[in-house]
């Protein structure tokens, strides 16, 4: 790898203050904006989760009324998926993809700005529904018809347009990442030399472009069913409410891989660094990622086993779902094999990565259980599914994001984070998250339904334990905020290399990375 040529002088006439952030075309500024936006949404969505857990602390209705409880579960899901996890991943891509492929910036910098600056407006529109007459969306983040059409509050139309805006943002962001990867790589950076984080984002971007328009289509059909007399989801007119679920999950299943594939990429960067070995099975990782992406398009109806489908359909979707276990297992095997006989150290990013491998795999296994159609009949819409997708999204995607932040923040800020505090954050989170979600497997198998503010007495103990874990986990994230601010303000100076033996172009530029990097493309051998 060559040394990077950098120049950090400020441009004449470049806006300062708030206008710098509003008008910026710089991938690092935009990455920072994405990450802060995601963190704010994470705290807002987290506060809603606290309301949910407080209500479920004891059986009976004590804190909020049932409709508001439903609004909380709905908005919590929407904000975490579209406001926190996805923008955080795009933020990481913005910061890291150009640095990792030796590009001066993203391919389409102005559009990059727009991709971000649609988000706060979409977020405001979505959250504003809470204050509207009739309350906010209360039909769950999957907004099934007819709950979201015939029986929904008026504010649903604002929800629909917020989803449209989020879709525009995601599509433009994804187009930008594809154009960057295909067109902006440094000389010698062939596709099969790209770091795995770049590969996973590249494939994720294809998924986004393929399914976000389908989401836009389905909410458009909701809009016309609600306001213009169409009958897409009404059997009286020859449509079908189940059709909503098909179209929604054609988007929704790839969507869950959109949230996890970049996380796979992060883990594939962190583990080799702290095991001080090359990633085991690089090319199989690339092919496994592509296989998962392909399979994600042909398994959507495993979310609908209890909805009513011909038996042949249930069988097909069951077996197709099982196949996803194969490439996923390849990945888990490769991460484990990378650690095998490595010179391992356990700095904070590595702790998140190792716990990811364990805990994400638990979520993967419960996913396999529910992929079995006859078994899913028992688990469907219970707390078991809640436990499942929180294991893959919290201890999966979110833990990977935490790991990524600790891994790259020295490069972003020029300061090392406080290792002791980072470790406290990790252990506090890792223990409390299991107290929070592991009992939900039990109450789910025992039959407690999701999205209900009250429950029978036999679920009381585990719910109380789960809530205590939830409050502890929530508090840990405020501690994370403190660590981040402390790291930005000061701390031990980070070296260019940051991590001993870390490989990749991002470790050839100074810390903090100058405003413009790779003005002259590095030579990759």
């Amino acid at each position: 790898m060559s040394t990077a040529t950098t120049h950090d002088e400020h441009h004449h006439g470049a806006p300062s203050g708030i206008m710098r952030w509003i008008t910026t075309t710089n991938h690092k500024d935009i990455g920072t904006l994405y990450l802060w936006f995601a963190f704010i949404m994470f705290l807002v969505g987290g506060a809603m989760a606290m309301v949910i857990r407080a209500e479920l602390f004891q059986p009976g209705l004590q804190i909020v009324d049932p409709n508001f409880f439903n609004t909380m579960t709905t908005m919590h899901g929407l904000l975490m998926v579209f406001g926190a996890i996805m923008p955080a991943m795009v933020g990481l891509a913005n910061w890291q993809v150009p640095l990792m492929i030796g590009a001066p910036d993203m391919a389409l910098p102005r559009m990059n700005n727009w991709s971000f600056w649609i988000l706060p407006f979409a977020g405001i529109m979505l959250v504003s529904t809470l204050f509207m007459e009739g309350g906010g969306p209360n039909f769950g983040w999957t907004f099934y018809a007819p709950l979201s059409t015939t029986f929904a509050p008026k504010s649903t139309d604002f929800f629909i347009f917020a989803v449209h805006m989020l879709g525009f943002s995601s599509i433009m962001g994804a187009i930008n990442i594809i154009a960057t990867v295909l067109n902006m790589r440094a000389p010698g950076m062939t596709l099969m030399k790209m770091p795995l984080f770049v590969w996973t984002w590249f494939i994720t971007a294809f998924l986004l472009i393929a399914v976000m328009p389908v989401l836009a289509g389905v909410v458009t059909m909701m809009l016309t069913d609600r306001n213009f007399g169409t009958s897409f989801f009404s059997a009286a007119g020859g449509g079908d409410p189940v059709l909503f679920q098909h179209v929604f999950w054609f988007f929704g299943h790839p969507e869950v891989y959109i949230m996890i594939l970049p996380a796979f990429g992060v883990i594939s960067q962190i583990i080799p660094t702290f095991a001080r070995k090359k990633l085991f099975g690089y090319s199989s990782m690339v092919y496994a990622t592509a296989s998962i992406a392909f399979l994600s398009f042909i398994v959507w109806a495993h979310h609908m086993f209890t909805t009513g489908m011909p038996v042949a359909g249930e069988l097909y979707f069951m077996y197709a779902t099982m196949m996803i276990a194969v490439p996923t297992a390849v990945k888990v095997f490769n991460w484990t094999a990378t650690m095998w006989r490595g010179s391992m150290t356990f700095e904070t990013p590595m702790l998140w990565a190792v716990s990811f491998v364990f805990l994400f795999t638990i979520g993967g296994f419960t996913g396999l259980m529910m992929g079995v159609a006859p078994v899913d009949m028992q688990y469907h819409d219970t707390y078991f599914i809640v436990a499942h997708f929180h294991y893959v999204l919290v201890t999966g995607a979110l833990f990977a994001i935490f790991g990524a932040v600790y891994y790259w923040i020295p490069k972003w800020t020029g300061h090392m984070y406080d290792e002791k505090l980072g470790k406290i954050h990790f252990w506090w989170s890792a223990i409390s998250v299991n107290v929070l979600f592991f009992p939900q497997h039990f109450i789910g198998l025992a039959g407690m339904p999701r999205r209900i503010p009250d429950y029978s007495l036999q679920f009381a103990d585990w719910n109380m334990i789960s809530s205590l874990g939830g409050f502890a986990f929530g508090l840990a994230q405020l501690f994370f905020l403190y660590i981040i601010i402390k790291t930005i303000k000061g701390g031990e100076k980070a070296t260019t290399q940051v991590w001993e033996d870390a490989e990749g172009l991002e470790w050839t530029v100074p810390s903090p990375a100058p405003y413009h990097t790779f003005a002259t493309a590095p030579e990759v051998r």
Binding site: H7, H11, H12, A14, M19, I22, T23, T25, P104, D105, A107, L108, P109, R110, M111, N113, W114, W117, I118, F121, M125, D157, F158, I160, F161, M165, A174, I175, N176, A179, T180, L182, N183, M184, I209, A210, P213, V214, A216, G217, M221, T224, N227, T230, S231, F232, S234, A236, G237, G238, G239, D240, V242, L243, V247, P310, H516, F518, A519, T520
Partner: protein, 287 residues
Amino acid sequence: MSATNGGYYLPEPSHWPIIGSVGLFTFLAGFANFLHGGSSMIMLAGAAVLIFMLFGWFGTVIGESQSGKYDDQVDMSFRWGMGWFIFSEVMFFAAFFGVLFYARMWSVPWLGGAGNNVMTNELLWPAFEAMWPTNGPGDVGGDFQMMGAWGIPAINTLILLSSGVTVTWAHWALKKENRGQLILGLLATVALGFLFLSLQVYEYYHAYTELGLTLGSGIYGSTFFMLTGFHGLHVTLGATMLLVILIRSIKGHFTADNHFAFEAVAWYWHFVDVVWLGLFVFVYWLV
């Protein structure tokens, strides 16, 4: 002063995206407000801001392009960008085509008792027989007649296919630096585009006034108007973009080897063309 980064053009900070966001937010919030009985002024104001943004943003890009700031690599970024944007549009239409197939192959036959749904039909809608077109067992929207394929739709097919030929003819001219033929070809394409739209407006008028066919005519009306309507919207967009390219051609923009804006719009036009062929076959013809 912009950064020169190994030749790749990195734009200055830009205020157009934030104007676009404000416009988009105002437009959509105004639209929702309008649907709830409010005035349409907020929505129209938002649309005006969006149009202002499009003029400003594309104006900036055209200015930069004309002053020679872009190199081959920038050109390639635009190509990937436009190509994947069109793919996203394909997927948008795929959602609506998927709905059409689902309704025709499954949900309507099931309502009529197909598969293992005999009792569904018997208990819920005993009089309903599955057929296409239909406005469902509830006779939603009342009696209607379907839109035939061999009147205006067939003529419109010819019009759009011809416009694909004329735009290619214009492209050949551009590559041969034959400005007159370029302008003539574009003029013909734009004219055919707007002719198509006029005929579609007439077709809709005919449907509403004489056939009793409306957006509310059950699943047939829903799929018919949403598919052809979104297509018409895209033809409008494409024809408008062609008009911009025509004006730029008259102004002397584009050279034989540097005219990606022309090609991007031509790609878009062909995409709109192909979607129409799908519509003609599956919405109008095969019943």
